[in-house]
Amino acid sequence: MNAQYEKAIEDFQNARWCLQEDSNIDIAMITAFRSAFGEVVSYDNLGMQEEAQQSIQQLQTIANYVGCNNCIEQHPCCETTSSANKSYFYDIFTIYKHKQNQDNYDDILGPNQPPEPEWCEEVVTGVGRAMDAIACLARNHAVKVVLIGIIEGLITRGIKCCQAGGFWKACVAPITRKWKEWKNNKEEYILPNPQNLSLYY
């Protein structure tokens, strides 16, 4: 049975890679949703909780895009075909947003050009470490685990984007914006607990 789940995960991952070639955003979104959902089920059955949490995060990201189907001007293939290393799972949502040209990442404060080669990864990892400090404020163990899972998902996503040579602000934006939300919650004394967990997703 485990082997079947492992095979299924492999298929879901292949499906997501194929999204890079898909010019139809509706189909891409549906496929991305199915892949992420299938991964959650498969990882959960394999007892791989961290990976399951990462897939839940992907589902959440897809959900955030529901209702934005008509705002794509160009299909996302153009950017991914120029990617130096196609073996990386390039974050399709970042590409979509970048392509839409509706998000210029002005809210991310930093130099336009990374001052050092490691800058992008340092920012992703550093912000993740700051978020850990908020996750550690949770007294409930399950809440803490969920929050750490979310952070892990955002770090993995950010690092992959950095390594694939994405625009650094686009790569750090998801984790930085989430960090800002969490910090605002904390400053308003909305601490991570089971009652207000939805504010941390």
Partner: protein, 189 residues
Amino acid sequence: MKAFIPLVLFVTHGFCTDAKDMERLKENPGIYLNFQDAPIFHKGNPLEGLNAFAVISLQNSEINNKIKSVIKQELGSLGTVIQAKSEDVHGFGSGNILNIQIGRVSKWDGKELPISRVTLNIETSVIISKTHIKSMPRIWSINDFIEMPLNNKSGDEAVKSVQRLLREFIKNYQFANPHQTQKPVFYIY
């Protein structure tokens, strides 16, 4: 006699080196009897050359503001302090994190002790030479303890404890960077 002169020079040179080393060891703020106080680095001090930090101190309490005020005051005596917005990533881009945490302390059976641990960590990205794994471990750390869980009553003790740890950090940082011309920058989040 000819053989005696090099022998005297060798002994004198050896003695001088030892005396110099002893003097430096005496100055080393890491040399304490209690290892809780500070890590000891004779050579390869990990604080050397770090010139910017993201400072994180997120406590689950209203005393957070008092702690932040002490952080600004103490670190301001060493370098430049910048109050950073969450979305300003300059501090994180420095790759170095100064993390102050106040946490509960558990016994072997998981039950909590009526004390809190105050910790100051320095974290930075490293590549482990044996395995070539890229990681972000604590490279320098110092602890203190206060006699009750963190709340408004124990707040003043916690603030004093944070102040003590910051002063230890500053001493150790200055020891590691004796000839530094550019002040370090601290981005407070």
